[in-house]
Amino acid sequence: MTISTIKELLDAEVLCSEDSLSRHVYSACGCDLMSDVLAYVKDQGVLLTGLVNPQVIRTALMMDILAIVFVRSKMPTEEMLELANENGIAILSTDKRLYEACGILYSNGLVGNKVKS
């Protein structure tokens, strides 16, 4: 699924890295716990979260995550956007809740990622 499809399905606003909208993501994770993201997520995925702080961006960067969707209309700071932009991570914001946003992507074919042991 492309990031641009995610934007449409979630009726989201793109806050940075517009030029990466055509990139494909292969897995997704809906999570407010960054350590779980660091433990289980595969690369080239999208992270959906209701948590907004600089560590969310840094976590995504460490994991080679391509896009972050902030749910419930949460807005990142300029500093967070700058770091994401520098690294080509797309930032989206949607007014949907985490459960709903994940459900929409899942039912449109973007499945989660298998837990690696």
């Binding site: 716990l33 350590s35 600089p54 840094r58 460490m62 994991m63």
Partner: protein, 141 residues
Amino acid sequence: MSEPLVFRFDVDGDDFTSAGQASVQVKKNLRQLGLLPEIIRRVSIAMYEGEINMVIHAGGGKAEVQVDNECVTIILEDKGPGIKNIEQAMQEGFSTAPDAIRSLGFGAGMGLPNMKRYSDEMNISSVVGEGTKIVMKVFIR
């Protein structure tokens, strides 16, 4: 590369907002060196969890990353309270982090297990009341 490349960082313990900055810089440096993405990812995650731990549990510390032909070595050293029971601390889910840290997305007791999972070798030496030193290696080949 005969001499190992060395990157050094002071990790500020007063400000959670900046926690992880050294790891971001290391990721950038390793990309410039052209290491495999998979290696870079493993180093970054292991260091990032360790850096966050120094901030939330030890009031900051020092980080050093060495790169040679064989491996990337991450050395994290702090003068924090030390770890009383290392075996217990290594268990998934064990955490002494306060709730305030949990609401920031950390403190789930997954840090040390993650560091172990993503590194090829990990060695913890810790003295209660003196501090903690963690050395992790990720082999390049």
